[in-house]
């Protein structure tokens, strides 16, 4: 109970902090959207169009901060994120929903894959302590995890798509492909996702391998693993139910927390690969001073991480009876 | 008789436990009265969870009593307000901890604790005093040992450092909380002997907290037996050991393995454990395990009553020594 309440308090406060931060940031910035739009149409727009722009974007320059804050919170509560200036007159919600699947499919899948693969490799490496796998993979991936993501991506594009022509260099799919649930489209989209996915994988898997390996080594030193050996259980059973299950527990929350970093990575991924997801959309909203879009994305990312943490809590509770009794 | 060195009056300490909204209260120590005279070694005996460590921490002012009072040289501890008074008391009543591996800061040389104690309480004394103290507890050559780090010492040596730290305060009463239980058998005796020697040489009193009745018998003048937060029996050590009044004391004594005594497998088949005293009801707390329990035990909490010269026990069925009227 206490645990649940604390968790709940944490969610509420985090959400509030994110929302408030969200609210404040654009207001601490110079300029406004009409100026921003005008800048995109330098000279194309007659000077007198300024007012027209303000009308079009519904910019209210004379609203008190407190009033604006509560209006803002009210809107968020009703999931009204407003109209995007970048994609005027489209709603933020619509734009985000359009971009989200790409990010989820690419970054989300890759992250989960990295977590699963990394955890497996870490487990096996620790299990086969001092073996070839243990001697080679962890150090390699520890070093690759220190690589700047975008740089690796650039190299990958240069090598695999420009020089070798194996993969597409950019975009989510080929421009001549029709977007539909067809084999042609799906395979094309997959082809476009290979390079970004592999680069994310290579740069993010190291952490998981290492933490899982270290956790497992610690767990393998536990008496209950020795006891399991004494019981003559199959190595498979010991590795999964005695070593693995205990070793993964501390990683779950870490995984959830890391999602924030993943989205960070996504921004650069999508920037370099011209990938139509929410990452670059965020960059763009920042560049265009598209507050509404920026706020919605920022909030979405935070909420996604919070939900992931919630899920991790749930998974921990399922896997670890001790937390169940504590909560 | 003049005022004893230390005296408690109805010393009680409760802890709130469990969940956020529960009103569960753990009665760690309930209504405990005892005295410690000058130059006396008093043993406090009981199983883990019986409240003996809580008493140590109440005396060391780590906890504040829920109710009741501790008088040190006639002065109630609750009247201590200022830092100076606190330091004065801390210097009179230092503590020696159970685990010599965790009671010395591993980051410093072993003389660190002694130096700090001197600096706080006996300013102006330097290295000669440090070496004198180390010599006092049998760490020779003191000059060499003072410069070592804790991990370079054996457990017994570390515990001697613990005593040297306590001595650095030039104390009147040392609270020794299970000072030998983590040490090897071959080393224990040396430390028990050290306590006796210090009492002789420095006139220090000891509150020797232990679960090992035999070691209590070895050095203590009088013994206090605790069960589930209550003091159940007290008296001169030899007397209590030879003629235990309280059924719990009897059980405790019968359980002590003694290779010199004949084997008595049949006499202890008790499977009970001391209860966690959460929201206790009236009645004897040992009653569920007691082979002699009568109806009254279930409803009326027995109070300590005199059962011989300087002998007290909290039991409805215990009988006074034949021919010796209750004092």
């Amino acid at each position: 109970m206490r645990f649940v309440l604390r968790r709940l308090g944490f969610f509420v406060v985090t959400l509030w902090a994110a929302i408030t931060l969200n609210f404040l940031i654009p207001r601490l910035m110079p300029g406004n959207a009409a100026l921003s739009m005008m800048s995109r149409y330098k000279g194309h727009i007659n000077p007198n169009a300024m007012h027209a722009l303000e009308v079009a974007f519904g910019i209210k320059t004379h609203e008190s901060l407190v009033h604006a804050y509560f209006t803002y919170i009210g809107n968020i509560a009703r999931l009204h994120f407003g109209i995007s200036l970048t994609f005027f007159p489209d709603t933020v919600t619509h734009q985000v929903l359009q971009a989200l699947p790409w990010t989820l499919a690419l970054v989300g899948t890759t992250t989960i894959l990295a977590f699963i693969l990394g955890t497996l490799i870490g487990l096996v490496a620790a299990w086969r302590r001092g073996g070839v796998l243990d001697g080679v993979l962890p150090p390699i991936f520890v070093i690759t995890s220190a690589f700047p993501y975008f740089w690796l991506a650039l190299l990958a594009i240069w090598l695999f798509s420009i020089k070798l022509g194996w993969f597409a260099e950019s975009g989510g799919y080929d421009v001549t492909t029709t977007v539909a649930w067809s084999w042609a489209f799906v395979s094309d989209a997959f082809r476009h996702s290979v390079l970004p996915a592999v680069t994310i994988l290579v740069t993010s898997i190291g952490g998981w391998i290492l933490t899982m390996r270290n956790n497992t080594i610690t767990v393998l030193a536990e008496d209950y693993v020795r006891m399991a050996r004494a019981k003559g259980l199959s190595p498979w059973r010991i590795m999964w139910h005695y070593a693995g299950r205990n070793a993964i527990l501390p990683n779950l929350t870490g995984f959830a927390m890391s999602l924030g970093f993943v989205v960070s990575g996504a921004i650069l991924v999508e920037f370099v690969f011209n990938y139509p997801g929410v990452g670059w959309m965020f960059l763009q909203s920042v560049e265009n001073q598209d507050y509404a879009l920026m706020q919605a994305l920022f909030l979405m990312i935070t909420v996604a991480v919070l939900i992931a943490i919630l899920a991790a809590d749930g998974a921990t509770a399922i896997l670890d009876p001790r937390t169940r009794d504590r909560s | 008789m003049s005022e004893p060195l230390l005296r408690t009056e109805g010393l009680t300490r409760h802890f709130r436990v469990g969940k956020l909204f529960s009103r569960q209260v753990l009665h760690a120590v309930d209504e405990v009265n005892f005295t410690i005279g000058r130059g006396e070694i008093v043993a406090l005996v009981g199983e883990s969870g019986s409240g003996k460590s809580t008493i140590a921490r109440l005396l060391a002012r780590v906890y504040k009593p829920t109710s009741g009072e501790i008088y040190f040289e006639g002065r109630p501890l609750s009247s201590i307000r200022r830092r100076k008074e606190r330091l004065a008391y801390a210097s009179d009543v230092p503590m020696v901890f159970q685990d010599p591996y965790s009671s010395i800061n591993p980051a410093y040389r072993v003389s660190h604790g002694i130096r700090r104690a001197l600096r706080l309480h006996r300013k102006g004394l330097g290295r000669p005093e440090v070496e004198r103290l180390l010599g006092e507890v049998g760490l020779v050559p003191p000059g060499k040992l003072a410069g070592k780090f804790p991990h370079e010492l054996s457990g017994g040596q570390r515990q001697r450092v613990g005593f040297a730290q306590a001595l650095a305060f030039s104390p009147k009463l040392i609270i020794a909380d299970e000072p030998v239980s983590m040490l090897d058998v071959s080393i224990r005796i040396g430390l028990l002997n050290l306590m006796s020697e210090l009492r002789e040489r420095e006139g220090v009193s000891f509150l020797y907290i232990t679960h090992d009745v035999a070691s209590a018998r070895y050095i203590a003048d009088s013994v206090l037996v605790m069960y589930a937060g209550h003091l159940v029996e007290e008296g001169p050590t030899e007397d209590v050991i030879q003629r235990p009044k309280h059924p719990y004391t009897q059980l405790l004594l019968s359980a002590v393995p003694d290779p010199r005594a004949p084997l008595g497998v049949s006499d202890a088949a008790d499977v009970g454990e001391p209860p966690k005293v959460v929201n206790p009801k009236e009645g004897c707390r040992f009653q569920p395990r007691c082979p002699y329990a009568i109806a009254e035990c279930e409803t009326v909490t027995p109070l300590l009553r005199p059962l011989g010269p300087q002998r007290l026990a909290a039991c409805h069925v215990a009988e006074a020594d034949v021919g010796e009227p209750a004092a």
Partner: protein, 549 residues
């Protein structure tokens, strides 16, 4: 484990290799398709409202059309478009246009003068749509059969460009039913243009030929793909690899990166506008014309162009006339007044009482000639250019410190006049030098510091200059117009309100393997950058498959 992974990789490679081959073959089949590669930094919102400044470049020119096409590369030469003719009257206060008969909307309904009238009234009703502020000069628009009459508040010759060439005409039968045209998305635009929007996703828009287009036999291009590029890199790669035929962006090292890749790859960067150092004329030091002149002397524009812009953007001259595009307007005597001359810069400063101490000039009051110059961190060519300028100014004793900002902060500071120097330029001027000079010099485009100025960011105000600018509006006579522009050139040279450094160009790369009919220096029939509307529609209209005769 390891073996498993290797296996997975092999399978993966096999799959992608075949997919790769497949896509290549499909590409070579579509010969009448054009793929545009133009980094817009955004994905498509799939809105096509021609009055939405954000997306109108996607529909105006291809789907929607204007009354008269005005060619900016030929000093405003006009071509009748939806209007079959036009005429000025009433001392250039009334414009009458005749609507072309036989034009059909893509849904089959005929275009009428009523649609034109409706369009202008729509702008009047909805200020948010009137991006060119037509109604700030218009008094009234009336219809008389197939003629539409525009009544202006005053003489309005230059406004012809905005009214006839920059206003897309929309169908009344559709737009009259729209409740709020300002926030109308227009996902399926119906226009008179040569192309129809066939499908749209955030990543690519596909246009197909409008079979019933009013210019018979045109267009010959079947399909146009307009992918969205969020950064320059992939867009350039599309061009270099030949996947896109029409590029409209900065390509560094274009010779090795693009031209060398294929004999069919060409480029042309026609200059249209200036990139200048805007000088805050209210700055206590910079308001001294001697300092501004010294700076104008000290900048080696040719070197800036070569290093910062790879030579793509030619050096400007102080008159503000973009050459060679508007060479006929240039006063040759003025063009070379401020040729690179660091000695003269130093002399100018010394003559005006500035003293050099160490490496830096100081005012008589002892203040150093040290200024901050705003720039956009994201425009790498500008950043590089300013680095060159910085060195050149330092050589004569003027220190400038670049402040590389995000474009929003940068714009806000420019508009509000919160800068000392700013490296800036209008994205386009207009079909004649007058338009850019008016943007820079007209006091109505200025504003007090702290209030946004539209284009006159340096805050230049001079009633005499204003009068010149207004005079121009009342004459349609080219000789008079040339005379006025020459006087404005003098203003630029004498007062140095801004220092044009390089000439902004239309980025334009094209591939002639499968297509012909591109805009070339010999045949500049429209501005060739895909982001210039409605010109891009005209370009697409003129492209032909090479196989066609």
């Amino acid at each position: 484990m390891k073996r498993l992974m290797t296996l997975a990789l092999v399978v993966c490679l096999a799959a992608t290799a075949s997919a790769c081959g497949g896509s290549k073959s499909s590409k070579s089949g579509g010969k009448t398709a054009v793929t545009i590669s133009n980094e817009q930094g955004t994905t498509w919102s799939c809105g096509f409202n021609p009055f939405n400044s954000d997306v109108n470049f996607l529909s105006f020119g291809t789907v929607y059309e204007e009354l008269t096409f005005v060619n900016g590369l030929k000093s405003g030469q006009t071509t009748d478009w939806l209007a079959s003719s036009y005429a000025w009257s009433n001392s250039n206060k009334t414009l009458t246009v005749t609507i072309r008969p036989g034009v059909k909307w893509s849904d089959g309904k005929p275009l009428t003068a009523g649609d034109v009238l409706f369009t202008f009234n729509l702008l009047k009703k909805n200020e948010g749509l009137d991006l060119n502020a037509a109604w700030s000069v218009l008094k009234d628009v009336t219809r008389n059969g197939n003629k539409i009459t525009f009544d202006f508040k005053g003489s309005a010759v230059p406004y012809f460009y905005y009214i006839a060439a920059q206003t897309p005409i929309v169908p009344e039968h559709i737009w009259s039913t729209i409740k709020n045209p300002v926030t109308y998305k227009d996902t399926h635009p119906v226009g008179t243009g040569p192309f129809k929007m066939a499908s749209c996703s955030p990543q690519v828009i596909k246009y197909t030929k409008n079979a019933g287009y009013w210019q018979k036999g045109k267009p010959t291009i079947e399909t146009v793909y307009y992918p969205a590029f969020t950064s320059n890199d992939p867009a350039n790669q599309q061009l270099a690899s030949g996947k896109a035929q029409w590029g409209s962006q900065f390509i560094p090292n274009i010779k090795s990166y693009y031209v060398s890749k294929s004999a069919d790859n060409h480029y042309w960067f026609p200059p249209t506008v200036n990139v200048s150092i805007f000088i805050n004329l209210q700055d206590p030091i910079l308001k001294d014309v001697a300092v501004r002149k010294a700076m104008a002397y000290a900048i080696d524009r040719k070197k800036v162009s070569e290093i910062g812009e790879y030579g793509y953007e030619p050096p400007s001259n102080q008159t503000g006339i973009v050459t060679p595009t508007f060479s006929s307007w240039l006063d040759p005597k003025l063009a070379h007044v401020f040729d690179y001359n660091p000695q003269k810069a130093i002399q100018t400063l010394q003559a005006a009482g500035y003293k050099k101490k160490g490496n830096l000039f100081y005012t008589p009051e002892g203040k150093p000639l040290s200024f901050r110059i705003l720039n956009i961190g994201g425009y790498s060519d500008w950043v590089a250019s300013v680095q060159v300028i910085q060195k050149q100014l330092a050589a004569v004793g003027i220190k400038i410190t670049p402040e590389n900002l995000s474009s929003t902060t940068y714009d806000a500071d420019n508009y509000n006049g919160k800068f000392q120097l700013s490296y800036n330029g209008n994205e386009s001027g207009g079909p004649a030098p007058y338009y850019e000079l008016r943007q820079v010099l007209y006091s109505k485009n200025s504003a007090p510091i702290g209030k946004p100025a539209a284009t006159n960011w340096e805050r230049y105000e001079n009633p005499a200059t204003d009068r010149l600018i207004e005079q121009y509006a009342s004459t349609a006579d080219p000789a008079t117009q040339h005379g006025i522009v020459r006087k404005l050139e003098q203003v630029m040279v004498n007062e140095v309100p801004v220092i044009p450094v390089t000439e902004g160009v239309d980025w334009y790369q094209y591939n002639t393997r499968d297509l012909k009919g591109w805009v070339t220096p010999d045949n500049p029939y429209a501005q060739p950058a895909a982001y210039v509307n409605p010109d891009w529609g005209v370009v697409l209209l003129n492209l032909k498959p090479k196989s066609a005769s």
